[in-house]
Amino acid sequence: MAVEQKVLGGKIVKPSSRRNSRRISQHIDWLTILLYFLLVALGWMNIYAAVYSPDNVVNIFSFDINSGKQLVWIGTSVILILVLMVVDYKVYEHLAYPIYGAVILLLLFTLAVATPIAGSRSWLDLGGGVRLQPAELAKFATALAVSKFLSSVNLRQQNMKDQMILAAITFLPPAIIVLQNETGSALVFGAFILAFFREGMSPFILIVGGAAAFIFIMTLLVPKLYLIIGIFILMGLATWLDYRLMRRFKTMIALFLLVVGMIFSVDYFVNNILQPHQQNRIKALINPEADPLGFGWNVTQSKIAIGSGGFWGKGFLEGTQTKFDFVPEQSTDFIFCTIGEEHGWVGSSILIALFMLLLIRIIAVAERQKSVFGRTYGYCVASIIFFHFLVNVGMTIGLAPVVGIPLPFFSYGGSSLWSFTILLFILLAIDANRSQDLSR
């Protein structure tokens, strides 16, 4: 027995499915799986806490409430995981484009036939009360296609054509999703930029993007004149102090004018081009109290809920703010409020730490891939989870606009849990077979 294992750990690969599965279990990344189940289980308990009512106690397993339904989604996710691990890992790379194409068609089909639900045309009715949101599938499908494409080209060579193709692959799905009126889900695709950066995209884009985002947010927070004066002083000082910049005086002036132009166009964009409900989301971020009835209501109430949790929290099921209707969508998009209120700063910090751990572990898994495809896919997974985490937690504590996207593995909802499960476990399936690439 010991001998056989040693051989298997080496280079000889025998086409036996029993041995194959044993080899997978040896190489599988159990730490990621542990983190996954920890997050899913904690999420499930908090979904129960969010819908729990002391006046009308319902069993956590009851299908009348969200926690009971979520248990079904968790159970089906486990089946999904088993399927993903058994399927030959090579299909993900070989079928990346067909999968991507199929999902694009499904998105277009949904756009054409979907009946609007609260203004969104993104749900496909499968009958029997089961609905599917193809926008969720688009995440892993796009990640596969992007990875496949990057494994065939070299991003560092600044080949314009390749860059255009990559941009098209990345932004076609979100374009359709925006047409479905699911702007929140579409924004997620911006996260791929991190994966491109790792594969050699010029850091310039990341810096320009970061600076643009910074100026965008500052334009909303600070009066235009102050902002322009501030930037003028900042840039002037930098130019004054650094002789290299001094020598590029004209460039600095041009840059300054560019920034001023951007400030005015952002102002125009927000007030004249955005639709009122989009304006409200952004304005609620700046001053939630100005619109306590609309989106500001959500932010204010969620901050009160989290803030009232204190250091240790009020205890499991002891929250008052996240019960009933003070915080909207408590078990889906605002699930973080429940943790903040019932488990306090300690609990919130532990959850954030768990996400950090998961993200860093995924990076480590990605880095140990021998193929560009595997590595890029790993970075895509990390980027998507990170973006959801950033926006979802950010909005509940007033650091990000109110965008209705779920907290990965945690929020209530089948489409979301399935989508993140598929996303993560395709990576783990590829990772478990990485030694085969070694032997090739």
């Binding site: 901050k303 009160i304 009232s308 250091f311 993200l359 860093i360």
Partner: protein
Amino acid sequence: MNYLENRKYIIQVIFLIVGIVFIVRLFYIQVLDSSYKQAAETNAIKPVIQYPFRGLIYDRDGQLLVQNTPVYDLMIIPKEAKQIDTLRLCELLNIPIEQAREQIKKAKAFSYVQPSIFYQKLSNQELAHVQDNLIDFPGFYINARTARGYPHQSLSHALGYIAEISPKQLEDTTFKGYRPGDYIGKSGIEQEYEKYLMGKRGVKYKMVNVRGVDKGSFKDGAYDTLSIAGENMVSTIDLDLQAYGEHLMNGAKGSIVAIEPATGEILAYISAPFYDPNLFTGKDYGKNYMALLQDPDKTMFNRPIMADRNPPGSIFKLVQALIALEDGVITPNTTFACNKSLVNCHQHPSPLDLYGAVQHSCNPWFFQAYKALINQGKSKNTFTDTSIGLKDWREQVLTFGFGQKLGIDIPGEKTGIIASPALYDKVYGQNRWKYSTIYSLSIGQGELGVTPLQMANFMAIIANKGYYVTPHIIRSIGENGKPLRENQERHYTSVKPQHFEPIIEGMAEVVRAGTARRANLAKVGITVCGKTGTAQNPQGPDHAVFVAFAPKENPKIAIAVYVEHGKWGGQSAAPIAGLMIEKYLTDTVTIKEQEKWVLSREYLNIKSN
């Protein structure tokens, strides 16, 4: 490759920075800043919507048509309503315990902390009972709001009603800003002018603690907005005339529409059977509504604008004569013999000129006049010639407002039907029909459908000698508001003013010595011009029509009366029109014998033929 591998550190640092920023921010919110804890104690800000007064509606003389009356609802906040004696509450309200349980369950399903209606529209007696005992029922309170009230029980179909907004409307972006439970105009004026009538809602922000106890206004009301009352409206309706018309039509089925020709203002708008609009304001709204919706007389059917399936009958002969005059195929002196082999007729002098033909409503005369109009010989082929003639004729008919929506400010208007070449091509095939196929159009039968509103509007056109102003029921928005601009435009027909003279003369003869003598008002010095008609009804007794305007010299009122199963326009519809005209012009009724005749409903017993 190495320098790219270093980028993994940059990415991880970005992740960690976000994590740390979040943890620091949470430390600030949760540990350092105590204001959130206080906010959670004194607690949530509760927005209380301030409902504005809905606009009032007056008639043309300033009498109130629609007002607001206070109503009281018993509200429940489930979270606070604990250990209450449900049985006693049911006794107070005199409702079964199941209903109470059902309401509490519904309220809980909606929200634990936000109020729901437990019992709608308490009667004064119920209000007194409940109010005295409210102290024993924590979590219950009385909420005052206003509902529509109608002092006069008239004008049901035109006024329409308001009711809770439907879930479907809530999803529609046209109704953005409405919340579940809000009231919205569902038909009639209430629907058409919703945006003016509803006013603007205000919001009061109240501080409420976890237990729902009121802690005063939020930031001293700095964010509160006042509600702004809806605009009042002035209707063109003459309430006295309207009520009199309803009195005359009580128990009958049909329509009356009266219009002021010069302005297009609707003076009376009756759809019979009608209902008391107050039926839709009480607790039993749903029950009443369903009962009316299902009744065999189709009470909810808005007849003046929706009944467009029946041919207009003889009144359409006037349209044919006008177009024939305009096209020059006849003159006022053209005579035709009453040739009963063409189409049947009754006993009268023959041959007749145009005046006589109108007075005696001679069918063969119009058969021949219409043939001259349709077959003008523009093509040598009879079939093609008929098709061209019908097409040209149809174009002119449309200028009278037939076959299309007139654009009245009451929702639900139907277009009616005017025969077209395409229609016959479809039935018989192209070039396979000629005048002998379509001749019944000449006497207003066949492929024609006209609403009572279009008939009344037609009378306004003749009174105006060639134009109409879009009929409308709201004169202005705001009590002293200017008339709406779109209601002042004149729509001209294809027929020149001089051609109306002989028609008007003939119509005067109809009332003086023809089929509509029951509408004669000569003894009070008013010359009424009118025309009777019979709409054939395959399902039962024919429907009776009478259209008229008066006075002949200076028309002040144009009217169409449509009596279902009334058989003869002269017997049933004409006296009603005469009474309405006298009532409007002189404010009194002297032809009492006609009033008695109408109210006796004797005309329903006259044998056809």
